[in-house]
């Protein structure tokens, strides 16, 4: 993947077909993190149930809106323009932010599905096809996160 020169409001990338396929595979997994993973507080309080319910409603609304954005990206042929043997993709910095949220939802959800293993030192290799799929999604999502953060910081080689 390459970054090509863009302006302050957007970033441009060149994807190989394989990179685009991996990116779309990961996006299609969204949402993966169970809502119950997020707690408003760890200290018991009188309004816990109500506050937790409000938080989950807010996150659910955000999840629904984000799911629609993901679907639009996956299905709109104008998102990725064929160029040479690959694709070019121009994305606003604002859109990269919600895409980071999507990628990390998939990363965290995959990690939870693996049983929340310690990642340092590297965990044992997965023993089932299902676990392999989660491990793969977790690693690919993390890889794209790092690329996008580097692009937003202007640190990705052009």
């Amino acid at each position: 993947m390459k970054l090509f020169p863009t302006n302050a409001a957007s970033c441009g990338f060149e994807f190989t077909p394989q990179e685009k396929q991996l990116f779309f595979e990961v996006l299609a997994l969204y949402p993966l993190t169970p809502p119950a993973h997020q707690r408003l507080s760890r200290t018991p309080g009188p309004d816990d149930a109500e506050n937790q319910k409000l938080l989950e409603e807010a996150l659910a609304a955000h999840r629904q809106e984000t799911r629609q954005r993901v679907q639009a990206l996956l299905t709109d042929p104008r998102s990725f323009q064929a160029q040479g043997e690959g694709y070019s993709w121009t994305v606003s910095r604002e859109d990269l932010e919600w895409l980071l949220q999507v990628l990390n939802d998939v990363r965290v959800g995959s990690w939870l599905a693996l049983g929340s293993p310690k990642l340092s030192p590297a965990p044992k290799l997965p023993s089932t096809p299902e676990a392999w799929a989660h491990r793969r999604a977790m690693d690919i999502a993390g890889g794209f996160e790092m690329l996008f953060i580097a692009a937003l910081a202007g640190e990705l080689p052009v």
Binding site: M1, T43, L55, R107, L119, S120, D139, E145, L147, A150
Partner: protein, 105 residues
């Protein structure tokens, strides 16, 4: 294909103003926003989220990221309930383990 996912190079931490909770406890500052350690979130990612949500410099964001990494948690803000809920919601959109806790008088 991907950049390395190795740990972030540890920066020299230069604490600036506002890195510690305010000493007073008032209704307007009765809650703290805490980020808890979570081995799955990448260090650069956490730093980026702190910069985005709080508008911090990279140095300050890295300071808090390392506090989370090394001490298991970091107090990110001390504020009123409404603003604390807002921050927690923003952080949780990024799937960070963030909570708000009431500060006892």
């Amino acid at each position: 294909m991907f950049l390395t996912m190795a740990a972030t190079v540890q920066p020299q931490v230069l604490p600036g103003p506002g890195l510690r909770p305010e000493p007073t406890t008032t209704p307007e500052h009765g809650y703290v926003v805490i980020c808890w350690d979570d081995p799955v979130n990448l260090m650069d990612y956490v730093t980026h989220v702190f910069q985005t949500v709080f508008g911090w410099t990279k140095t300050k964001a890295e300071h808090h990221m390392l506090e989370v990494h090394n001490q298991g948690r970091s107090v990110l803000a001390r504020t009123g309930l409404e603003k604390a809920e807002h921050y927690v919601h923003q952080l949780q959109k990024y799937r960070l383990q963030a909570t708000l806790e009431h500060v006892e008088e």
